[in-house]
C-alpha cells in the first residue's frame, strides 16, 4: 500500500513531466548576458567606428557616396553579432540540456524554433528589402519589433519571462520607429541592456 509521501511524489512527478515535455527549459541566463554584451559592443562599433547613426528613414548622409562601405560594414557587424549570440545560446543550452540529462534537439526545442521561425524569417526578409530600398533608418527599429514578435510567440513554449522580454523589444522598436534618431540607442537598450538584465534575472532565479 502506498503512503502519503508516495502520493506527493506522484504529483511532483506529474507536474515535472508536464513542464519538461511541453516547455524548452534549457535556456541559460549566461547566453542572455553575453548576447547583451556583444550587442553593446556592436552598437558602439557601429556608432564610433563606422559612424552609423541614421537620423531619418532615408538618411542622406549614409545613402550618398560612402553608402556601400558604411552599410556593408554595419551589415557584416550585425551578422557577426547574430552568429556570436546564436552560437553562445546553443553552447549554453547544450550544456544545460546535458546537465538535465536531456538532448538539446528534442520535441520542445523543435516546437520553440518552429514558433519563432515565422516572425524571425519575415523580419529578416523585410530587413533585406529595407536595405535594398535604402530605408536605412528603419533597420534598427524593425529588427527590435520582429525579434520581439518572435520571442513573444515562442514564450508559450519556454520560461514565461520570455514574454515580457518580447514585449519590451516590441515597445522599444515602436518607439524608435517614431523617433528614428534614437534608433541605435533603442537598439543598444533592447539587444544590449535588456538582454543583460533578463540574463541576470534568469540566472539568479533558476541557475543559482
Amino acid at each position: 500500500m502506498k503512503e502519503e509521501k508516495d502520493y506527493i511524489r506522484d504529483i511532483a512527478d506529474i507536474r515535472s513531466m508536464m513542464e519538461r515535455s511541453s516547455k524548452f527549459l534549457s535556456l541559460s541566463g549566461w547566453a542572455g548576458i553575453l548576447a547583451g554584451i556583444y550587442a553593446l559592443a556592436g552598437a558602439y562599433i557601429a556608432y564610433a567606428v563606422f559612424d552609423f547613426n541614421p537620423n531619418e528613414i532615408v538618411d542622406s548622409s549614409i545613402n550618398s557616396g560612402s553608402l556601400s562601405s558604411v552599410l556593408i560594414n554595419v551589415i557584416s557587424l550585425g551578422v557577426v553579432i547574430l552568429i556570436l549570440a546564436l552560437g553562445t545560446a546553443i553552447f549554453f543550452s547544450y550544456n544545460k540540456a546535458n546537465q538535465r540529462g536531456e538532448k538539446l534537439w528534442n520535441a520542445t526545442a523543435k516546437r520553440l524554433l518552429m514558433n519563432m521561425a515565422v516572425p524571425f524569417v519575415t523580419g529578416g526578409i523585410l530587413i533585406l528589402i529595407l536595405i535594398f530600398k535604402e530605408l536605412i533608418g528603419l533597420i534598427a527599429p524593425f529588427t527590435l519589433i520582429f525579434y520581439g514578435l518572435a520571442l513573444y510567440s515562442a514564450s508559450k513554449f519556454t520560461f514565461e519571462e520570455v514574454r515580457m522580454l518580447g514585449l519590451t523589444q516590441i515597445a522599444l522598436g515602436l518607439i524608435s520607429t517614431y523617433y528614428i534618431e534614437y534608433g541605435l540607442i533603442c537598439w543598444a537598450l533592447g539587444f544590449g541592456v535588456v538582454h543583460i538584465i533578463y540574463g541576470i534575472y534568469i540566472y539568479y532565479k533558476l541557475e543559482k
Binding site: 513531466m17 515535455s21 538532448k103 520535441a107
Partner: protein, 99 residues
Amino acid sequence: MKISINGLHKAFESRIRLGIMSALAVNEMFDFNSLKEFLDVTDGNLASHLKALEKEEFIGVKKSFVGRKPNTQYYMSKEGKKAFDEHLKALEKLIKGVG
C-alpha cells in the same frame, strides 16, 4: 476500468504510465522516440506500457510515415483525459485528507 477504493486508477500505479499520461495531457501528440527520451526507458518497456494504456482505451495511436520511416504518434483519448483528471483529484484528496 479498475479503480481501487481510494479512487486511484490501477492503470496509473506504474510511474512510467503516469509519466506517459502527464506528457500526453499537455501535448496534443507525442511520438514514440520523444516519449522514450523524456521517460528514460527502453523501447520494450515503453512499448508494453503504451500497449496497456491503449488496451484501457486511455490513449490513441496514429501511424504515419515521415519519408520512409514509420512515425507513431500517441494522443490522449477522452476516456483517458477523464480517468487522468479523476486520478489527479483522488491524489490531491488523499494528500489533503491525511495531512
